[in-house]
């Protein structure tokens, strides 16, 4: 007995085997196939007789995949730079940590500082990606093929920052318990650290469980930077505990100002500024 759903499922699997594995593209092709089958059925054919002609009108899976491959893999410079920076930073952190372990100097405080600093730096770098996104969106040409790897990178960077920041925060609490007799003392730096940790955990949850737009995800990244600036650099100015620098007022204000402007850019509708130049395509293809 003919089962349409099973046949469509098998047809999708065939497309996936041919290398077409993006759900959005598959959904669009499936929607077309169903439409074609409906048209053939309404013209008098049975579903079983309509399926094969509808599939053949769409073309072979290899043909479709070949055409899609021509638009695959366009890189976006800010993403390449950001990923390069993150890899460099992680290499440095790993090198420093291994050196300290080899020298037998690895302490709770050191691990806390390194983890928190690396997490905040990764978070800040992700926020810079957000700033680039809004600049490109308004003044450049940010297209879906460029956004796909950016989405994946953003998710990875957010998890990385959240993991490092949360680990650093917990290590800090353990250090405080061991040396100061309490986990949390309400110091401006500790409150700042708590805010940063809470924000990044919330961001990771939202990104994992809610389907949010790229614009909202990038707004969250820039907001994350503002939380880091206030919670880390800002708290340094009022801290009673040790400070790792960045206590300069002008730098704090400059960073805050830049991020607030970037946040505002995110609320300007795309295409509203007449500063973009249309791109000319490089290839023609057959349909």
């Amino acid at each position: 007995m003919f089962e349409l759903e099973a046949r469509i499922k098998a047809w999708r699997s065939e497309l996936v085997r041919a290398g077409l594995n993006q759900p959005e593209r598959l959904n669009e092709l499936e929607s077309h196939l169903r439409e074609e089958i409906e048209t053939l059925v309404s013209s008098g054919l049975k579903e079983a007789d309509a399926f094969n002609p509808a599939v053949s009108r769409l073309g072979s899976s290899a043909q479709i995949q070949t055409e899609f491959q021509k638009i695959k893999g366009r890189s976006w410079l800010p993403l390449t730079i950001v990923l390069g920076l993150v890899v460099s930073m992680l290499s440095i952190v790993l090198f420093v940590a291994l050196r300290e372990i080899a020298a037998g100097n690895l302490s709770l405080l050191f691990a806390h500082v390194v983890s928190l600093t690396a997490g905040c730096c990764a978070g800040l770098i992700t926020g810079v990606l957000g700033i680039c996104y809004f600049c490109w969106r308004l003044f450049g040409n940010l297209t879906p093929t460029r956004l796909q790897p950016t989405r994946r990178a953003l998710l990875f960077l957010n998890y990385l920052s959240t993991g490092l920041i949360a680990t650093g925060f917990i290590l800090g609490m353990l250090w405080a318990r061991k040396n100061l007799g309490r986990f949390f003392g309400g110091d401006p730096r500790e409150i700042g650290g708590l805010c940063v940790t809470a924000w990044f955990i919330a961001t990771a949850i939202v990104q994992q469980f809610f389907r949010i737009s790229d614009r909202k995800a990038m707004l969250m990244c820039i907001s994350g930077n503002i939380v880091i600036i206030l919670g880390w650099f800002g708290a340094n100015m009022f801290t009673a505990l040790q400070s790792y620098g960045f206590g300069t007022q002008w730098l704090f204000e400059l960073l805050l100002g830049v991020h607030l402007i970037a946040l505002l850019l995110g609320f300007i509708p795309a295409d509203s500024l007449p500063l973009r130049t249309p791109r000319t395509p490089k290839t023609e293809s057959y349909v």
């Binding site: 669009e28 479709i64 290839t283 349909v287």
Partner: protein, 110 residues
């Protein structure tokens, strides 16, 4: 039937022209071209989507998923400012080819 090369060259201006009249989706675009050409222009249906995606990548068109009354989702495309500019350029180019051919044929047959 139109030659394969001509079908390929005319795809983008045809899509841009259709989308300049309003939002539409892949299946409807194919049916409309078939109707307007009296079945003389025939696209291989599945090949239209890579072209649409490439045009979206060029920043000429944008897309959104819409759920209709029976729960089915369709991806609708609409033209952007850059697409209107590209259409204008393509119309000028096709207009030029058309006028040159017209003049040549006029000289030949008059």
């Amino acid at each position: 039937m139109l030659a394969k090369e001509l079908v390929a060259a005319s795809t983008e201006p045809l899509i841009l022209s259709l989308l300049s009249q309003g939002e539409s989706y892949g299946y409807a675009l194919i049916q409309e071209i078939k109707r307007l050409s009296g079945d003389k222009i025939e696209w291989t249906d599945g090949m239209l989507y890579p072209v649409l995606h490439r045009m979206e990548d060029n920043g000429w068109i944008k897309s959104r998923w819409v759920e209709n009354d029976n729960g089915r989702k369709r991806k609708y495309y609409s033209i952007k400012k850059d697409g209107q500019q590209a259409l204008k350029e393509k119309l000028t180019q096709w207009g030029l080819v058309s006028s040159v051919l017209s003049r040549l044929w006029k000289q030949q047959y008059v």
